[in-house]
């Protein structure tokens, strides 16, 4: 059975990544691709790497007949997404890749994003899209909110540890190294090749990155009490990848065992042998997440490191994984491609 798919915001990186992934999926058919400012263009003009595919031309959202769509991916900018989704048919299955429906609490949303939410009804309805932890809810959801890519990486590393009670909740540091595609196709000086290549820096230092809203929400929920982590993202000259180096307190072996237990049956989460560290080189272009645990020389401390591809497992791959659940497809359908190395 073929499911009819629309992608809103198809001229950005996550939109293009969705098309790349769906190209490998036997049961999904793309029937509509929107991009307001590029409406009328072909996908090959906007993304020449998709030239070989037969795809609908880009259109405006208003031109889409949603009655013929089984599931709609929204890869629109934050804030725009909530306004668009608010006005879509109430019965349409939606996987949103923006930040708009990740936070359940309207006040928290406003605190981190600076504006009041324009689609409170849908916000209440949305299911948080971290598949491995919300699988059953997602299966029955109408609207799934894709997680932040940094937020996904940090949670893969930390959720099982908080749930198992094997780490000190007041001493968690999440030090992330992020590739540039996470910033999207936006035109900013610091994203130019000439300014980004050959150097690196931290940004949003001190606890100002918006993905902290997700960490606070999810970690506190699991712990049953407020949990705040320290979180510093760094931008390095690479296109895909997030590496989360996490400093925690607890017994390294217990930590490792908790992660192994949590992910024993997960098709996309790979636990490395104890003492090994993962690399973003080994997940590029794939839906896999690699996790490693090492004991520190200081007793009672451990370093847990996770690696994934921000555009795939961190965003569009996660979105397709969720869509598979929502459509009754096998969860891994279209997602088992091996990473690209070198």
């Amino acid at each position: 059975m073929t499911h009819k798919i629309a992608i809103l915001g198809a001229s950005g990186y996550t939109g293009a990544e969705l098309v790349r992934l769906i190209a490998q999926h036997p049961n999904l058919e793309i029937v509509a691709l929107s991009a307001e400012r590029k409406a009328g263009m072909t996908m090959a003009q906007v993304f020449p790497h998709l030239r070989h595919m037969t795809l609908p031309s880009l259109c405006k959202i208003s031109e889409i007949d949603f009655s013929e769509v089984d599931l709609c991916f929204c890869a629109l900018p934050h804030k725009t997404s909530q306004e668009v989704i608010r006005d879509l048919p109430k019965s349409l299955k939606i996987v949103d890749l923006s930040a708009d429906f990740r936070l359940r609490d309207a006040a928290e949303y406003e605190k981190w994003y600076g504006n009041s939410h324009a689609a409170l009804e849908q916000q209440g309805e949305a299911v948080y899209g971290l598949t491995e932890f919300y699988r059953e809810d997602i299966r029955n959801a109408r609207l799934v909110a894709g997680t932040g890519c940094n937020a996904a990486t940090g949670q893969f590393v930390l959720r099982p540890l908080i749930a198992a009670g094997v780490i000190d909740l007041d001493n968690i540091i999440l030090d992330l190294i992020c590739a540039v595609s996470g910033a999207g196709r936006s035109l900013k000086e610091n994203l130019l090749h000439a300014e980004l290549s050959e150097g690196y820096n931290a940004y949003a230092v001190g606890g100002t990155h918006r993905h902290l809203g997700e960490f606070d929400q999810e970690f506190s929920k699991i712990a049953g009490r407020p949990v705040q982590v320290q979180f510093t993202p760094h931008l390095v000259p690479a296109n895909r990848g997030i590496l989360a180096t996490t400093y925690v307190r607890g017994d390294a072996q217990e930590i490792y065992d908790a992660l192994c237990a949590a992910y024993a049956d997960e098709p996309f989460i790979e636990m490395l042998p104890f003492g090994e560290a993962p690399s973003t080189h080994h997940v590029r272009g794939s839906n896999f997440c690699h996790i490693g645990v090492t004991a520190d020389r200081i007793a009672g401390r451990a370093i847990v490191i996770g690696a994934l591809d921000n555009l795939t497992k961190g965003s569009s791959g996660q979105a397709l994984q969720n869509a598979n659940l929502m459509l009754g497809e096998p969860e891994t359908q279209g997602l088992m491609m091996a990473p690209l190395f070198p």
Copy 2:
């Protein structure tokens, strides 16, 4: 029906790329992976990006039971390959990725490679593996010699023009820009990140690159008289991709028409609109080749540019395409994945 596959030389880049591609193929099963110096190790230890796959451990060639193998890919170094293939079962289907069986003439082989050929019988039997031009021969071949990656790119651009008689045969310049994975996993100073990134240079300048042996052989055969091209490869800081900028004399529109006619039914060769230039960005990780034609401001001259991924269409993808033909599989099986961008 499942075909049993062995890969000799699985610890190099083309070996790993074969595994990546075969992972997407529904009817191939890898039963043996060899790597003499790394025998005993798992593939995950040598290539952690393949960690999620269930694969045989690396072994020595002597440990493989070839009676259980339907087709063998040889991704061994030049010169080693001929010695190994000479001693393999005479009935075994083989796709060789080395340079050892590309040149039909033993003297030409010795001229370009500096040693006498150790497997003359197999050299006589081998079919040149440029699928789009030797398709029927490959279908019936036992031993197929994969082309050089530069040689493939140059031929995709030039063969139809020579065949159609639309260019001056004495004024052909092939200016190539190559990514570093074409040099393999060899440990040389100029391949270190610190030495390669941020700069670029020509090498093998003046007609000394070995792939000229293939150009001479193939172009002269098509033309029915000796043809010599000028060929300058350049090494730039990127991992995958070959861009062939070809300077030819002839009518640009006739040139374009000849290419369009030649590739009208080819699944992997994409002709760009007249006047557009391809980019290696748009073929990365895929089996596609993009070709563009532009008229020069000087009448009677044209620039024809081709782009492909050296590890896929230039090497392991071509090898799988050929194996599909030899095994009676659909030619595109396992090869239609979209490029990775960004």
Copy 3:
């Protein structure tokens, strides 16, 4: 004696590069830095790598007292530059880094740049700034027009060959590989790290690049008859560098000798041993240009390759070299720093 220097357009890459170079110059003092849209900001805010220097804050051009300026570098965008320079004091020494005064013929200017020239008087007065070939004119000039960076590279390779009559004037191909800083700090999708890194392509194919105007003007002048070259620039993932691979017809040894003779006394042009090819790796951040000559396997053809740093020798370094001449300073003052490698 200290010369007082103003830099107009100090918020771009060539402006910053001028500051970097002048920092090493014992006799130049920067008294004014303009940037219309960033007026009021400090240089450290715009270019934190210059944080350690004591520099005037950015201002508007209208705020500069030019009576206190000995020499003014104009690093403004094309077209803006001519309008600004037209209205500057008629006695002020100026080195312009834009394209506005490179072409002597107003019709040629309009043909390549698409607009009529707004400062015809100054256009007539300007001296072409390729130091090695216009040294005496520059010494006495009031207004010097810095060359295009590609144009400089191609001319270093070809001018002595045309002048010496050792190459066929109707068969010259200039195949260039360019780094991205040549495109300036402009915000375009194809200049983003995510879109540029890991791939490459030709652009302005077929004879449409504006620097052809300079090639046509200069080569025809030397030859005493019209000369048209073929010129294809390529953009690769690197920040600094131009590599000009030039295909010419003539005797390689005569070509080499002509270049060695022309550059025997030049402090910044380095001839490599015959048969060696230069690399942009070896000129990065310096004012040097490396040139190599190789004979092709086809008799009567040669490949001549030049390499320089587009921001230094191709632009701001050339500008300072010219300013030194105009101010009576030693020509190499502030410019002998070694390249940065790795």
Copy 4:
């Protein structure tokens, strides 16, 4: 007055960097360059970027007449260095860039480096080369031990905080991002462009990196009691740069004030405005170190970040700074060049 300089181990990156820096120094003359395996070659053959300089050819150490040398830089591999220095004239001024004389305690040396020290006498004599903190000792030293590049970066950030007593000594995390030139010119698979570019990973996780020996020694000495930090280095695709993101506990403003006070008169240490984060982009190729302090959202915690160029301030620039002191030259001589950006 001209000082005569020898560089042992001139075929590595730190050797080449010394030559680059000395090229700008008015009072140093290079009289000998050694490289055992490349003896007889010219520097231009080994490092073509130094082609324009007049330099002695590479020789064996045994060929150097040290009676004509005023100061000798040793840029030899660890372990080799101690054996060579042991046998050099006892009166020769030496700046060693290896790890061999950094640790004062022979047992600590053996613990971290795995072999017993072969030059105990010199080990006892050596002065630790972190200029800003050992300036007077260095001025009078015969043998100075250059610090580790990671060790330098971490100490610039942390020493003043430990000395001022403004941070909790039991909660210090040093998370470093390092460029690849720190690994030297060694031929290892993970340093190849194809393996390093486009991805990143942590290494020596859990407290096994040898530079911890320096941190332990120095921090414990300042604190007057044992201090152990957590330290995780990461390798990213860039050639120069170390970014130290340090997580500490204390009042951010007090921390900032302590750093500002410590570095108020330092020519090479730049404090950023409170709340700003430095970038390795802005120190490339220079001897500067940029430091920024930010308060975390969790009260009582701060993030202190330092950035420098590992080959310059982290190694060869530091070495020249020390040599200046030992030779009675101004400390900043030859070292004030601005960073290269972009």
